[in-house]
């Protein structure tokens, strides 16, 4: 009944955790680092330092800080998101 399985399986996009999706995620991450010539681990250091700077000015919501390197047309963008509670100044 393979034909029937094939016909009645509802078409969906690739599921997370499949080899294709894993490969794509790894690729994206790797190429972002390659293109910037960014050594592994450096982003984490920057994240710590930046967070420390922002924390001098604001109380931050704990565990909400997010750093993302996004690719926009082969150019990288660093997107940082801090959730602020109140000013310390």
């Amino acid at each position: 009944m393979q034909i029937l399985d094939w016909l009645f399986k509802v078409p969906t996009g690739p599921a997370p955790g499949t080899a294709a999706v894993t490969a794509k995620d790894r690729m994206r991450n790797m190429l972002t680092h390659d293109r910037l010539e960014l050594p592994a681990g450096k982003l984490e250091v920057l994240e710590e330092e930046l967070t420390a700077v922002v924390a001098r000015y604001f109380d931050l919501e704990p565990d909400t800080t997010r750093f993302d390197l996004k690719q926009i047309d082969r150019k990288a963008a660093l997107i940082a998101n801090f959730q602020l509670v109140r000013s310390k100044c």
């Binding site: 078409p11 969906t12 996009g13 690739p14 294709a20 790894r26 690729m27 790797m30 690719q71 082969r74």
Partner: protein, 236 residues
């Protein structure tokens, strides 16, 4: 149209085209002026408008430099409508020589991670030569539609998105390619092969024709595409 084998030391286009017995002179002989360019060109057996400039087999990549390649390409451009230079693997002098005279580039990769990473590196180098190389497009080779459909492998859309590059064509994995290279008859000349059709479509797109792509990706897995693909699985 002229095909230039730039893989000096590892000559192979003559074999793929079944012309290995007709090679007398080669690219290095031309550059070092042991023969005229016309004497080194080997005419294809089937297509009178197609010529091959073979690589040298006994020398290495240092036998020519970028200036010599530029001059050679200029001369070929004046003789042919299209000059296609096959670059050796790598990003060193062989690659730099191969692009020295180029106006456009075709980047060929497979949907595997290591190959895509290499392609990204090549694209970075091409981007750095934007003034000279005005456009580059991607050919995705050895695609296995079934594995893509099972999410076992990245598909066309995935690779295009990762590399942010324009698509020139998709060539499926096809045993016919091995059969045809063994016979010395390029698969592009064979009827009823998926890869042959893929190569002919690429050629038409290079000439400026709009040839539709087939979506082999899971993203487009709908009832309609399933039925269309079922009855017409060979558009590439």
């Amino acid at each position: 149209m002229c095909l230039v084998d730039m893989d000096i030391g590892l000559r192979n286009l003559d074999i793929l085209m079944g012309l290995e017995n007709r090679v007398v002179y080669n690219l290095v002989d031309v550059v070092e002026e042991r023969c005229k360019l016309r004497q080194a060109l080997v005419k294809d057996k089937r297509m009178p408008n197609l010529s091959l400039l073979p690589a040298a087999q006994t020398r290495d990549k240092t036998a020519v430099n970028a200036d010599q390649m530029k001059k050679l390409c200029e001369e070929l451009k004046s003789m042919f409508d299209f000059v296609l230079v096959d670059s050796p693997a790598g990003i060193e002098s062989g690659f730099q020589n191969a692009i020295a005279g180029a106006e456009e580039a075709i980047v060929i990769t497979t949907p595997e991670m290591s190959a895509v990473r290499d392609a990204d590196r090549i694209i970075g180098l091409l981007e750095a030569q934007k003034d000279q190389i005005t456009q580059y497009r991607l050919v995705l080779n050895r695609l296995r539609p079934k594995m893509v459909a099972n999410s076992d492998m990245m598909g066309v859309e995935d690779v295009l998105e990762i590399l942010s590059v324009k698509l020139l064509g998709v060539v499926p994995e096809d045993e016919e390619i091995i059969i045809s290279t063994n016979k010395g008859e390029p698969v592009s000349g064979t009827d009823n092969t998926r890869s042959g059709l893929a190569f002919r479509n690429i050629a038409r797109r290079l000439r400026g024709e709009e040839v539709p792509f087939m979506d082999l990706d899971v993203k487009n897995d709908t009832w309609v595409t399933r039925i269309v693909n079922f009855f017409n699985p060979v558009r590439v």
